[in-house]
Symmetry: C2
Subunit: 307 residues, 2 copies
């Protein structure tokens, strides 16, 4: 359920909004290794604008068609702008038993991976909310002179407003990944969700923990080298709204993970390891611990830190 | 999708609201002859009130449990109060082919039936909106002296705020009814929807029509004899929010329809006939035509008429 003022700006581009409303749902299916089948859409509108509805539908159905996902029902009514999509997908069935990818399957020693880019969506949001200055002269290092329209910012804004659900990667990871979750609340927060669910499943005496390689994490943000490292770290670790997949797999599956990434045309980065020691730690290139990540667990902490 | 201010009053009783949010969805399944399986709930709340959520959950889960319908997912977020439920059900499958009850199966000569009561919900709404005086001394004819709290009004208010989805009747009508729809927009309006869909299915040169027996229609409203006939007629024909089933079946199935009604403990009234002549007509007890029903087709006409 996406609500105006909570999840998007009142003047949000309707075509990108149509895309995002479905994309965030397809991202949930991707994290389950599920194939999209169909969706319902309930729409509450303050007024009927043909123009808005036409653009919204374009964004929505372009993405739906790309995933062969059919609109099968829903509702339209009058009220504050609210978009509610329910998506249905199909997981693999082996010997009559459904085999979804779950967040609860991580094991001690698993590698931790992230797809695509993290943190750019949060940076774009902060700029659009006026918390940070809008960059006017950031340049892509190899593409020539400064531009008034930062291509980094434009790309980050697209990641915020038109995220790419990693459906093909989710399907390719079936039988390879031990656990997966989609990143909507931020890397550290969602990693805690995955570790907590896996600990419960394993009935470990203490919750599982993880180490994250600082350098790998910093490299996940496309605009990283153009911004201060503290900001990059915050955006990557607690950004949210990324809709990338966070997943774990045993070290023996590294080649299979790379093949899945290659086959699904999705960049994948190995960023750390699941461990028996509770908590999520940052490591430098030499493997030395740089400290905990508790302050990055949620959006609220992030805001406080900047305030 | 139910929106505060559009579908319910800001101070609506949360327990009844929880019931109604699921009931209106189960009513759609009932009209398909489908067995409820599961539902998702997305909830946008302006603030978190433990008391409100507890009462809402009680109403919701009491009804869900009664229908063995399981909550399987959803969302909670902040925003104007909005309740969005998607329900999943199962229709009969014969020789590998799904056999839903559809609104498009009506045939010329079919009897037209309605379950339960019509119009009381609209009357209650008009009273609660201040369009009509709140009845203080209406009595049930056989139950003694006037009461300050009209039992008719209390019952009508319950029909508005806590409607009964006719799931058992819908299941019992499988293989008996030709067509069915649930009454959310009003009898005449929804009958037109059913006739239109059936005409399209039959590819008739002109749309199908129907005759409705005035006396049978008037008898559908529980509070009918306590109110002016014009008001009763408007409430019954264009009331809306009834969540009863409107269905058709061939005259040869009258005994089977009665058995289905009996078996599902649901009152059912035969109110008219599907005809080859377009339009919906009212007939008196002698079968004489009393006029068309165009002014009863929608809620808006109804409002205009009273204004």
């Amino acid at each position: 359920m996406l609500v105006e003022g909570t999840h998007f700006f009142p003047n949000a581009n309707p075509q990108r909004l149509g895309h995002k409303a479905l994309a965030v749902n397809l991202s949930d299916l991707a994290a389950c290794g599920a194939r999209p089948l169909a969706f319902t859409l309930a729409l509450s509108l303050p007024e009927v604008s043909e123009h808005w509805l036409s653009d919204f539908s374009t964004g929505l159905f372009n993405l739906a068609d790309a995933h062969h996902c059919t609109l099968i029902g829903g509702d339209t009514t009058r009220g504050p702008l609210n978009l509610c999509i329910t998506v249905l997908g199909e997981v693999e069935v082996v010997n009559g038993k459904a085999q979804p990818l779950l967040r609860s399957g991580a094991q001690v020693g698993d590698d931790i991976y992230v797809s695509g880019h993290l943190g750019d969506a949060r940076w774009a949001l902060m700029v659009l909310q006026g918390q940070l200055e809008r960059p006017a002269s950031l340049v892509q290092p190899h593409l020539g002179p400064p531009s008034q329209h930062s291509p980094f910012f434009a790309a980050a804004q697209m990641r915020l407003e038109q995220p790419t659900p990693r459906v093909a990667l989710g399907l390719a990871l079936r039988g390879i990944a031990h656990a997966a979750i989609d990143l909507s609340d931020g890397l550290v927060g969602d990693l805690h969700h995955l570790l907590h669910a896996s600990s419960t499943q394993l009935k470990t005496p203490e919750p599982l923990g993880a180490s994250i390689l600082l350098e790998a994490a910093l490299g996940l943000m496309a605009a990283a080298h153009a911004l201060p490292q503290d900001l990059v770290l915050s955006c990557v670790l607690s950004g949210g709204d990324d809709y990338e997949l966070l997943f774990t797999a045993p070290p023996s599956a590294r080649a299979a993970v790379q093949a899945a990434a290659h086959g699904s045309l999705t960049p994948v980065t190995r960023i750390g390891t699941v461990e028996a020691i509770p908590g999520v730690r940052l490591l430098d290139a030499q493997g030395h611990e740089l400290g905990g990540t508790d302050k990055f667990r949620s959006f609220d902490h992030f805001s406080n830190q900047l305030a």
